[in-house]
């Protein structure tokens, strides 16, 4: 294949990765930014989203788009609810202590993963895409659905940005992130904000998973890669920075796509990890992060 189309394919693949990664990493970043909780179970919320998408879309007969759209709405809501319960039952009781919550979320990771294995089983199950139009380029064919993931993700990111910067809820979240004690003194129910943010973080991961599941199937171990990549993105972009997370996701996604198409996927992972090390050495707060107070 010639260089031009080769690069185009690499960029497309990279953008799909970026789109999903941006949503997942944003959830992780939000939870850390506001609550200072490193949520190791984030990847499992991603997996839950995919597994629920399978369950919902198989339960609904008729056109595949119907089942998929229902899953796109319902699966994140259910995952958000589960996250809310987990936050109430576990994180709040630990007073959001940074060390204790890491251990607690590792525990949650295993509990969710094993529950999925018990009730969903070890198989990888496909979810039918809402439409399967194949876009025919002169050099190769490409899935139309994959392109729609990029658009859907961009819309969701815009919506999140709007909520965070233009609404009262966002204002309250930002105030809590800036200084939770002062926020509390000003009458902001910090406790409820924490619960909401944790649920929102999980929902972003779940939405990303529902978007990706028609091209990669639901499997109980699928949460591991997104977790790792999300951490990489969040560290490079700067913990708690929305802009940094999106920029870093596009950077990592594109470089992953291009390097793995032209060279090898393993090299792409090596370079991403190197980048994390470099950022940690030279800009410990990430590209767009601010020093903690």
């Amino acid at each position: 294949m010639h260089f031009g189309p080769h690069l185009l394919l690499a960029a497309l693949e990279g953008l799909v990765t970026s789109a999903v990664l941006a949503l997942t990493a944003l959830g992780l970043s939000l939870v850390f930014g506001v609550m200072r909780v490193v949520n190791v179970a984030h990847g499992e919320f991603f997996m839950l989203g995919a597994v629920l998408a399978w369950a919902i879309s198989t339960a609904i007969s008729g056109h595949p788009a119907l089942g998929f759209l229902t899953a796109l709405v319902l699966a994140p809501l259910i995952v958000g609810l589960i996250a809310l319960v987990a936050e109430r039952l576990v994180l709040r009781r630990l007073n959001y202590n940074p060390e204790a919550t890491i251990v607690a979320t590792i525990g949650m990771l295993y509990i969710i993963q094993q529950l999925a294995l018990t009730f969903y089983g070890p198989e990888a199950r496909p979810v039918e895409p809402p439409f399967s139009h194949r876009i025919l380029l002169p050099w190769f064919g490409y899935s139309g659905y994959k392109l729609s993931i990029i658009a859907a993700s961009a819309l969701l990111l815009l919506a999140t940005w709007f909520v965070l910067t233009r609404t009262k809820i966002g204002l309250v979240m930002r105030a809590t992130q800036y200084d939770s004690e002062t926020a509390q003194a000003f009458g902001i129910p910090v406790d409820r904000v924490y619960a909401g943010v944790f649920a929102l973080g999980a929902m972003l991961a779940a939405v990303a998973a529902v978007l990706i599941v028609p091209i990669s199937q639901a499997h109980y171990l699928m949460g591991q890669d997104p977790l790792l990549l999300s951490f990489i993105v969040v560290i490079i972009g700067g913990l708690g920075s929305l802009r940094g997370t999106v920029v870093a996701a596009v950077l990592i996604g594109l470089s992953d796509g291009i390097i793995s198409v032209f060279f090898s996927p393993t090299l792409a992972k090596i370079i991403a990890t190197m980048l994390v090390a470099m950022v940690l050495v030279f800009r410990p707060h990430g590209l767009f992060g601010t020093a903690s107070r």
Partner: protein, 434 residues
């Protein structure tokens, strides 16, 4: 007998009459517990215990599920016919997570905890390679159903056998003439980046070269990969045949993305059914496979030429004419591989009977009796077809099926002969000490 410290004074050590009575009762309970009397009485009536190392979770889960069903069906048939040496067969299943490290632990558990007579049933080659040393160390006969060339390479040890399924080197050698003559001369290979894939990487190029064809590119993909489009640009444009073999949970994605990439304007495709094992070939997005060819160990779809034994085997395992579970058309089997469990158990039965096997102390005799086997006739015990067995390399040889996707099913269009897959032995296990 009472010293100053009261060491011999029973009242001070807390051993009261009540605890003594409890201890007696517990001891009596243990003696009448199920199994206790039977084992202590007579070895001959105790069941033969087969430790089944199953891929119940991890990337091999679909195979594990069907290997368990096939094994259960075979054991039921063997027990109904009187068991082995008059003793019933009992299968003990341990999940290895399709992980080599865990696999070795499972073999150890079978040897020391369950004290099974043999270990059986492993498919994934990296698990076999990881577990084989543990089996050799425990002197535990280890009967795998793996398809890899590792057993026949004689690089494992004397306790490892593969008598129920042919190995990749033999399969490739038998099919290469057909590929070169019917599919094309310029071949690009796509294979999983671990032991099983390396067998394909290493043995296809020489086998094709002997037929005047050549491998022009080799693309290795990690078995845990979930997205494949990025690998396809490496396929050279002059490729006439894509030879694909993939494993793992994402096989459906692999084939779908191949279809998206090429559409109907594709090179010839020759695949190992592994790329679609446990997956419905009529899944949406797989239409482009129509007219392509697959290797199958045993055909997934019922064929007009099926023998009575093949029909009986399919009914016993519970698969319908489309190779899916009876009553659940979505639960597609791993028909191309799982027959190996059935056949291997009958080989174990034959070898144990030849050896007059009584218990774990006869394991060495069992190894020698297995090595003495030479052929297995086609029939209810070997429904896939006739086989020969080479005791020096612990590997069987049999026929291969090449099937074409036509009208939403796989029809066998070519069957190789046993001789097509024979090669010079690379070593001799029988020269190793037992």
């Amino acid at each position: 007998m009472t010293d100053k410290n009261g060491f011999f004074d029973l009242s001070k050590t807390g051993l009261t009459r009540r605890t003594a009575l409890k201890g007696l009762a517990a001891g009596a309970g243990l003696a009448v517990a199920p199994g206790f009397v039977r084992y202590s009485q007579a070895q001959s009536s105790a069941p033969i215990k087969i430790g089944f190392q199953s891929h119940r979770t991890g990337i091999g889960a679909a195979y594990g599920r069907w290997y368990e069903r096939t094994t259960a069906a075979a054991v039921k048939a063997i027990n109904e016919a009187g068991g082995i040496n008059g003793r019933p067969v009992e299968v003990i299943i341990e999940d290895d997570g399709t992980d080599p490290g865990r696999g070795a632990e499972v073999v150890g558990k079978f040897a020391t905890q369950h004290k099974t007579d043999i270990v059986f049933g492993t498919l994934f080659s990296h698990v076999v390679i990881g577990s084989a040393p543990a089996a050799g160390e425990a002197k535990m006969p280890y009967f795998v159903v793996s398809e890899g060339h590792h057993v026949a390479s004689t690089k494992l040890n004397r306790y490892v056998f593969q008598p129920g399924i042919t190995d990749v080197k033999s399969q490739i050698q038998a099919m290469a003439p057909w590929i070169a003559a019917n599919a094309g001369k310029k071949v690009t290979q796509i294979f999983p980046d671990f032991a099983f894939g390396y067998d394909h990487r290493d043995y296809l190029p020489p086998a094709l070269k002997a037929q005047g064809a050549e491998v022009i590119a080799q693309i290795a993909i990690p078995p845990t990969e979930s997205s494949f489009t990025k690998y396809f640009p490496q396929i050279p444009a002059e490729t006439e045949v894509i030879y694909h073999v993939m494993v793992g949970p994402a096989v459906l994605t692999f084939v779908k993305e191949l279809g998206e990439f090429y559409g109907s304007n594709r090179p010839q495709l020759f695949g190992f059914i592994d790329s679609l094992e446990a997956t419905d070939i009529n899944s949406p997005g797989l239409e482009f496979l129509d007219g392509s060819h697959f290797w199958e160990g045993s055909p997934r779809y019922a064929q007009p030429s099926d023998s009575a034994a093949q029909k009986a085997y399919r009914a016993a395992v519970g698969i319908d004419d489309n190779g899916a579970a009876v009553g659940d058309p979505k639960d597609v089997s791993t028909a191309a591989h799982m027959f190996g469990c059935w056949e291997t158990l009958y080989v174990v039965k034959k070898a144990m009977e030849d050896a007059g096997y009584k218990g774990p102390e006869d394991r060495a005799k069992l190894v020698e009796a297995t090595e003495a086997l030479t052929e297995f006739a086609e029939g209810p015990e070997h429904p896939q077809g006739p086989k020969t067995f080479n005791g020096k390399i612990h590997q069987c040889f049999g026929i291969q099926n090449i099937s074409k996707v036509e009208g939403g099913r796989l029809n066998v269009v070519h069957k190789t002969k046993i001789e097509d897959g024979l090669y010079e032995p690379e070593g001799d296990y029988t020269s190793q000490a037992l």
